[in-house]
């Protein structure tokens, strides 16, 4: 069978699966066996989603969440990359930070939420710090191992051709470590996205997609919950695919550091 034929068939099957799953759900929801408040029908969810987007509330929630994620993620990148590079380049820095980082890493970020709530109150600061905590470790570790794994041959070749410290760093080490750094950013964004939803639920403020879901539970607004779930999944997918995919295209794939297998 040709490649395209195989692909159309896979696509067709995927569509069929999703339709079947939607039908089963719809049947369950309409059967009246479960309370309608707990299992809203699909048109219901779609209606809620459209209504909340068109009156702007869902968009405002999403903006709050994105602001927190971006702030925390930006901090994590700003701390993780320089510290990772320092750890890989200087023995003393590595000796000091590695034991600390290895001890903190197995503590899930959510365990710190109640503590941060006491220290920093409810709202933006706590959420951003939790996101920062969750996102820093993947960033740090990937940068660290990326810089360490730069091919020593390249370093020596560049040195032999007369590169000074400055150009060695910017022209060899940074591009060489970039696949790892970009993987780190991807992982750390994913972590940040998970952390923000959880932090918003527990350290509830007034806005944010996580808070919407948790707040909707109190009033049994299952349709709002599912609509927010769709938005959360959509934004996460968008970032993963579009933003990080295109960063990868613009940098490492172009420089020929990685083959485009990962898409």
């Amino acid at each position: 069978m040709t490649e395209t034929g195989q692909r159309t068939r896979s696509l067709l099957r995927a569509v069929m699966t999703l339709t079947a799953a939607a039908c089963v759900y719809e049947l369950l929801a309409r059967s009246g066996y479960f309370a309608a408040a707990l299992l809203p029908t699909l048109p219901n969810i779609a209606q809620t989603l459209v209504a909340s987007i068109s009156d702007g509330t869902m968009i405002e929630h999403a903006i709050y969440t994105l602001y927190r994620v971006m702030f925390g993620f930006g901090l994590a990148v700003a701390v993780g990359i320089p510290l990772g590079i320092l750890m890989a380049r200087f023995r003393a820095v590595e000796n000091f930070f590695l034991p600390l980082v290895s001890t903190l890493m197995p503590i899930p970020s959510f365990a710190l939420v109640p503590l941060f709530m006491l220290w920093f109150g409810i709202g933006n600061l706590t959420t951003i710090l939790i996101v920062f905590y969750a996102a820093t470790f993947p960033m740090l570790f990937n940068t660290w191992s990326g810089v360490r794994s730069v091919n020593p041959l390249w370093l020596r070749a560049a040195g032999a051709m007369g590169a000074d410290e400055h150009s060695l760093f910017w022209k060899v080490i940074i591009p060489g470590a970039s696949p790892f750094i970009i993987t780190g950013m991807r992982q750390s964004f994913l972590r940040a996205w998970i952390a923000v939803v959880g932090a918003e639920m527990i350290a509830a403020s007034d806005w944010g997609l996580g808070w919407v879901i948790f707040d909707a539970k109190e009033f049994l607004n299952t349709d709002t919950m599912l609509a927010a779930l769709v938005v959360i999944g959509g934004i996460g997918y968008l970032f993963e695919r579009l933003v990080f995919g295109s960063i990868e295209h613009a940098t490492v794939l172009r420089w020929g550091m990685m083959r485009s297998a990962k898409g």
Binding site: N95, F96, S102, P106, F110
Partner: protein, 275 residues
């Protein structure tokens, strides 16, 4: 992720040659903690923040010992670990089965892949309120959510692992007359195992993170997450710190003892990855 831990372990082994070097190594690993501990103590004793919110390390250690002796901390920890293991076993069984099935049969792949791809990018905790509404407060919701969330990385990795088994191994086993059963047991399963183990590891880490959070939300009677969350109400910062320490210790133990051992016994022994 575990690079750091492994590096420390490796350095500590090579440093075992001479006693002086070993002592220096211990000193080097302890030194950062002494610095951070001293800073903490200075800030705590300086009363910059209210003592209730920023306890000294002695207070944390004292409440750790008190809670352990009273049996409260072990009870919380055991309940949490049981919940973790139940949820994780659920995820492991379902995840490996679905993943291997997806890797082996095209129709299964076409059916499950869209569902899994849609479910995976949504953060696990976002499902929590939904699970709470559907299954009620308490243990069932917590365990089911942990299982649900942990199964995604396991499915993905098992699927990739089965697909990554070298074509030539399959063909040579086939040529040597292996039937389906033997092919699966002796070629596909060992070949996919490094991936499956990675998936299990990721799944366990995921389960652990979600469990701590869901324990705060699901109002379970015992559990470390609940203990930390409950201690907040009474401003028992020292109890919270002790709980966080136990959570860290359990996380580290799971990673170091459980998975490194399994890996040593299976894939390293079979020569699939370098020891």
């Amino acid at each position: 992720m575990q690079d750091a831990v492994t590096t420390i372990a490796v350095t500590s082994q090579s440093g075992r040659a001479d006693a002086a070097g070993r002592l220096r190594l211990i000193g080097r690993n302890v030194f950062p903690f002494v610095v951070v501990g001293a800073l903490w103590e200075i800030v705590a004793w300086a009363d910059i923040f209210p003592r209730r919110l920023f306890p000294t390390l002695e207070e944390v250690a004292l409440s750790f010992v008190n809670l352990t002796v009273a049996g409260i901390l072990p009870h919380h920890a055991i309940e949490t670990v049981i919940r973790l293991l139940t949820g994780f076993s659920l995820a492991a069984v379902i995840g490996v089965t679905v993943g291997v099935l997806m890797g082996r049969s095209r129709p299964a792949e076409d059916i499950f892949l869209p569902l899994v791809s849609i479910g995976a990018p949504i953060p696990g905790l976002a499902y929590a309120p939904l699970f709470l509404l559907w299954f009620g407060l308490g243990n069932i919701s917590a365990v089911l959510l942990v299982g649900f969330v942990a199964s995604f990385p396991i499915i993905f990795n098992s699927w990739t692992g089965v697909k990554a088994v070298k074509e030539i191994w399959l063909r040579s086993a086939h040529a040597m007359g292996a039937d389906d059963r033997r092919m699966f047991r002796h070629v596909i399963l060992p070949g996919a195992l490094p991936y499956i183990l990675t998936g299990l590891r990721l799944g366990l880490a995921q389960a652990w993170r979600v469990l701590v959070a869901i324990e705060m939300l699901a109002a379970v009677p015992w559990g470390l997450g609940w203990m930390i969350f409950g201690a907040r109400e009474f401003l028992n910062t020292d109890v919270m710190m002790a709980g966080i320490a136990v959570i860290g210790i359990i996380g580290l133990t799971l990673e170091k003892l459980v998975f490194q051992k399994i890996e040593d016994y299976t894939v390293v022994r079979w020569g699939m990855v370098a020891a």
